[in-house]
């Protein structure tokens, strides 16, 4: 057989699917991953880089080293998907044919969509996290404002976690009393999930982190050092950290495979494109109203892999569907963390923060490289 399985994106989702399909189908298919850089980056580490707790270089691995031998890696950028000819055009001019296509292209951040916001700090790219760390090292006092400039964004707990880790960082430098931390939340609570907000809000108050609700960042005045909300309020800052607006990748938008923000419409259980029977999407790339996080991509990957493998082998579609499962850790500072778990049918629950969750997160961050991309966990 000469099936071509093409996977766009060598992040967590694309890598797991490539390895699982390769293992399942043997020589029934040629499996190729197209990745823009060929470097696999562990994005949950950005938060720690920003506060000086992690080394940026430790978050990178050669994507080739994470893929099974029989999976081919092409380092190039996909620019257009032609669903009629079933070919994907790459920047180099090369065109790659597919029988089954997985869009694991993730999301991109577009800080310049925020008027005046281009110079704000962020920790959603490795470069941004490094730059923010440098700015924090130079920070001697004043108001640090953390705001959200668009929903959906990756890793919903991140702004709250950053507030807590920033509090720790400033205390360790003995300048906490010279600093104010203001957390601007898009909702009238600290976090999208109510159950988690109830756990987190008293700790924010205890640490002296000021919470402002219903503040959806609309624009920044970098000269006056103010940030304005969609709701009509303005807050002053000395150092501004924004969660940038996110959208799907350009190849999705240019190929008309997504909605107006470039998110790929898929069935929330089968992860199959709503218009194409041989295209799947997982992770940040989809329009599923669920967290954009590595955890989701990780759980979705086994579902998409089983479906793609069954299609390759001409077997009936597997009954294993994605049930909306999400598992996240949320650092609450001072060496503690809580977790958030839910799926489509079970509302989120969060236990009281404890040291063991912080250590579990730290352990997972290290064990990731040897377990997750290979589909072992």
């Amino acid at each position: 057989m000469s099936n071509d399985v093409l996977i766009l994106g060598g992040g967590v989702g694309g890598t797991i699917v490539a390895n699982l399909v390769a293992k399942e189908v043997g020589d029934h298919a040629r499996i190729t991953v197209v990745d823009t850089t060929g470097v696999h980056v562990y994005q949950p580490g950005f938060l720690y880089v920003a506060v000086g707790q992690d080394d940026p270089e430790a978050l990178k691995r050669d994507e080739r080293s994470l893929l099974r031998r029989e999976v081919k890696l092409v380092v190039d950028r996909a620019t257009f998907v032609n669903t009629t000819t079933q070919k994907v055009v790459l920047t180099s001019g090369r065109a790659m044919r597919y029988d089954e296509l997985l869009l694991a292209t993730g999301s991109r951040t577009v800080l310049d969509e925020v008027p005046g916001g281009a110079g704000a700090h962020e920790f959603y790219t490795l470069e941004g996290a490094v730059r923010l760390h440098r700015a924090l090292q130079e920070f001697q006092g004043g108001t640090i404002v953390i705001g959200v400039a668009g929903i959906p964004y990756k890793c919903p707990p991140a702004p709250v976690e950053f507030a807590f880790l920033l509090d720790d960082y400033l205390r360790a430098r003995h300048i906490r009393e010279d600093a104010q931390i203001k957390l601007l939340s898009p909702l009238n609570r600290a976090f999208t999930i109510e159950a988690t907000s109830k756990v987190v809000q008293p700790i924010l108050a205890e640490r002296g982190i000021e919470l402002t609700g219903f503040f959806n960042v609309e624009s920044v005045d970098p000269f006056a050092r103010t940030v304005a909300s969609l709701e009509g309020e303005t807050v002053e800052y000395d150092l501004l950290v924004l969660v940038p607006p996110h959208r799907g990748q350009k190849v999705i938008e240019d190929s008309a495979l997504g909605d107006e923000r470039g998110w790929v419409p898929v069935d929330k259980n089968t992860l199959k494109h709503t218009r194409f029977a041989n295209i799947w999407a997982i992770g940040d790339a989809t329009n599923i109203p669920i967290s954009k996080s590595g955890s989701v991509a990780h759980y979705e990957a086994s579902v998409a892999a089983a479906e793609i493998a069954a299609t390759v082998k001409g077997e009936p579609e597997p009954s294993h569907l994605y049930d909306g499962k999400v598992t996240c850790f949320l650092e609450t500072g001072q060496g503690q963390a809580t977790t958030i778990q839910f799926d489509y049918d079970h509302p989120p629950v969060s236990p009281s923060p404890a040291r063991r969750w912080h250590w579990a997160k730290a352990l997972f961050n290290r064990a990731y490289w040897h377990t997750v991309p290979q589909g072992r966990l």
Binding site: G150, I151, P152, P186, L187, N188, T192, E194, F214, N216, E218, L230, E231, G232, P289, P347
Partner: protein
């Protein structure tokens, strides 16, 4: 209330809180002043979240109507 011209309907039925409100905020962010948005939500939390946000953001809550297992929230972008 058949006289209200709806410019865009956001069907957020089946979406958990705060999805429906977040979709409304996204639509209002991109919309024009005067446009009318309808959100369909089956989430109980929307009953408090959506009116609270609309009041805070000084838009106009034109109507809230209960239907079979979900509610319609009709909002006009006022500024």
């Amino acid at each position: 209330m058949g006289t209200i011209q709806i410019d865009r309907t956001i069907d957020a039925r089946g979406m958990a809180c705060p999805g429906p409100l977040m979709n409304l905020i996204g639509a209002i962010r991109q919309g024009q002043v005067g446009q009318v948005f309808e959100v369909l939500s089956s989430d109980e939390g929307s009953r408090t979240d959506i009116p609270a946000w609309v009041a805070k953001a000084k838009h106009e809550l034109v109507e809230v109507r209960q239907d079979d297992g979900y509610a319609h929230f009709i909002v006009r972008k006022a500024r």
